[in-house]
Symmetry: C2
Subunit: 425 residues, 2 copies
């Protein structure tokens, strides 16, 4: 029997993580299934950012670099992130954007490979990886005379040949929500003499990650999705300790210097992950990011990432069950793997037509998911729904599917206003 | 006769720009001569940032990418900056940090040079340039097998040989406040077949700059100094239109793509300056930056940068006059050029000993300048005082010198607490 609204309410009432939702301000009347694009507002952020603006900046001015903890914010926030991704204190810094951090670590990985295995001239990634990752890889390959080999997920194992220097993957696919087995893929890469670089944009705060446990080589991730850091929040970067001090990263700015305020003309990289810093960080956005990180760390006494993961799987299982049962006959297909081990914290549906308009119609009803375009060929357009277990409940899943059902049954998605494309989808 | 406190009050009363100060919140009892390190808080920032946090992020969530102008913020803010640096609309974007932007433009400049003049293998800069500029140049030179030649300011002309690909300079020196003649130096570089890349960190909002007028090739600058954008505010980048679309910059992220939301696997750079974007920008920090830019643009009806420059010179002239007259016999020397054409908007003093402690003693009295270390050799330690004409008045200059005089006469700077070094100086 299909799960009922009553059942969902009971699940919420029994949910040991339910109180974590009280950390956030959500708009009235909105069911927010887009925390995988932009996490919601932590209650603490408004006051903390206001304090950073009026007190730290307004009153403290430059003194706040020392007195308000601005100076070591990248490391302080990095240590908080480390707890969520299986890294040790001192191994992560919060800084810059995911794209920029990827450039740093890919560059470092390619430098290591060119020294340890100079004959390897290929960088492997997945064709359906998030495009900015591919663009950054493409640019670095052009610079260094390497070949970027893009394969389908099922072709990765076969692609790990002795020509390959680096394997770069996103742990959870942004379109489909499919998740790689980070430990197994990293081990396979290492057996083939290949370094493994991971993008955790859709993982950090969403699924358990064990960077040291899996012996990954480098990782980057996003601050504004499941870490709730606010629009365009700084990203993060991790390097395995055995690599961190080995090479300069090319964005060798003063904040990565061993002694930035000695103002020496020669670059001398700081030991460890600090050398992956470059310039001055946007402190107001860093302040909001710290509030976001604290919301995820608040789950630690309740079981942490394992507990969040269990709830996330329950939410996504429920959405799949309800969408298939209640929207049957409406030409929806599931693009996300059913197996728990292969799924992140989102569910993606495809439809042969109307995906964009259906998403717009849902948004008009207050059910916010998003649309991701297909490639005009095999990849169909996607309706994407993210489930952040910190603040999404089971009743909301039921209601979201009810709205989806109504949008499809009434045909309201065919209204012209839902077909007008916007700059950001 | 030395200018008196009364004279200074009269100057303030006559100052046609005096009302611009009302745009800012300054701490009570502080004379802030460090706007060249971090500009002060615009009155509008607290409310605007709060709106961005609670309304745009909290209520609008991802919809704000379209509805709140997040998506085109780099270009919108860039167009505001363009008005302050002699660039045209569409030629500037606000993004990332100065160091990262310098990496982008230096890389582009070196790519142009390697195509147009492949034999040129030297990058020239000034030994006393801001260190992060030198570090970025050093890293790029390592990557590309080029030589970084560092010269003294008086050696620049001679260094412009046919081996040189790019000349990279900071317009106003961060330590001494010495200013290059951008038009003359750029013209000399061009005559020698060399591209000119300028760092405007201490120029934008402080002195008139004519990027198109001087036919510079590339420029970057800082958002948190004279542009009052808040701690770590995003920086900006400009490319001469003839260069902007010619090469990929290496940080080829999705925001620099011609159609970022098509999510195509291949990078296709946007035309013009937009390709110098990389990843998602920190929106809260961008919001504060826009408030800062508006404070400088508010001077446009009052004569704009020319009027600000006239006041800046009057303030720095006055500080020099008073420091020399009233602190005579205290071993202070002027490190900033006296000639108006050679001076930015700051005055630097050197002393054979105690510079750090004197700055700390002044800060304890509420006179905030900063300290910049010498090189232990020819370059002496510096007491640095920045004069932002938007909010600094003549009476404050008089009082600052009075405090300096008292700190020196009483010897209070010799107290142990003023000699404890902090992480950020």
């Amino acid at each position: 029997m299909t799960t009922t609204l009553q059942d969902c309410r009971a699940l919420d009432a029994q949910d040991p993580l339910r109180a974590l939702r009280d950390q956030f301000t959500l708009p009235e009347g909105v069911i927010y299934l887009d925390g995988n694009s932009l996490g919601v507002l932590p209650n603490t952020a408004a006051a903390r950012v206001a304090e950073a603006v009026t007190q730290e900046w307004g009153q403290g001015l430059i003194r706040s670099w020392n007195s308000a903890g601005w100076f070591d914010a990248p490391q302080r926030l990095g240590n908080k992130i480390a707890q969520l991704v299986g890294a040790a204190p001192g191994e992560v810094v919060a800084t810059d954007s995911t794209s920029i951090n990827l450039y740093k670590v890919l560059s470092a990985a390619l430098s290591i490979a060119s020294e340890d295995a100079p004959g390897r001239k290929v960088l492997v990634s997945e064709r359906s990886n998030f495009p900015t990752d591919l663009y950054i890889a493409q640019a670095l390959c052009r610079e260094r005379g390497l070949r970027l080999l893009l394969v389908e997920p099922e072709g990765i194992a076969q692609a790990l040949t002795d020509e390959v220097a680096v394997l770069m993957l996103t742990h959870v696919n942004y379109r489909t929500g499919a998740m790689h087995d980070m430990a197994a893929v990293t081990a396979a890469a290492h057996r083939a003499g290949i370094l493994a670089v991971w993008d955790l944009a859709h993982s950090a705060g969403a699924v358990p990650v064990e960077l040291n446990g899996t012996q990954a080589d480098f990782a980057v991730g996003c601050g504004y999705k499941y870490l709730n850091g606010g629009p365009g929040a700084p990203a993060f970067v991790w390097a395995h300790p055995k690599h961190a001090s080995r090479f300069w990263q090319p964005l060798a700015g003063w904040w990565g210097h061993a002694a930035p305020f000695e103002f020496t003309p020669d670059y001398r990289p700081a030991p460890g992950i600090t050398r992956f810093l470059c310039g001055t960080q946007p402190i107001l956005s860093m302040t909001a990011l710290e509030c976001g990180l604290d919301t995820v760390l608040a789950a630690q006494p309740l079981g942490g990432m394992a507990a969040l993961r269990a709830k996330s799987l329950a939410l996504t299982d429920l959405f799949i069950e309800l969408a298939e049962a209640r929207c049957a006959g409406h030409d929806l297909s599931l693009a996300t793997p059913r197996g728990h081990a292969q799924r992140g914290s989102q569910v993606c549906l495809t439809r042969s037509e109307g995906a964009y308009a259906i998403v717009q119609a849902l948004i008009a009803r207050g059910v916010i998911g998003d649309f991701r375009a297909g490639d005009g060929g095999q990849q169909l357009d996607i309706l994407r729904f993210g489930f952040t277990p910190l603040y999404i409940g089971f009743e909301e899943v039921w209601l979201a599917v009810e709205h989806l059902k109504q949008v499809l049954e009434t045909g309201e998605w065919q209204r012209p206003e839902f077909n007008q494309k916007q700059a950001v989808t």
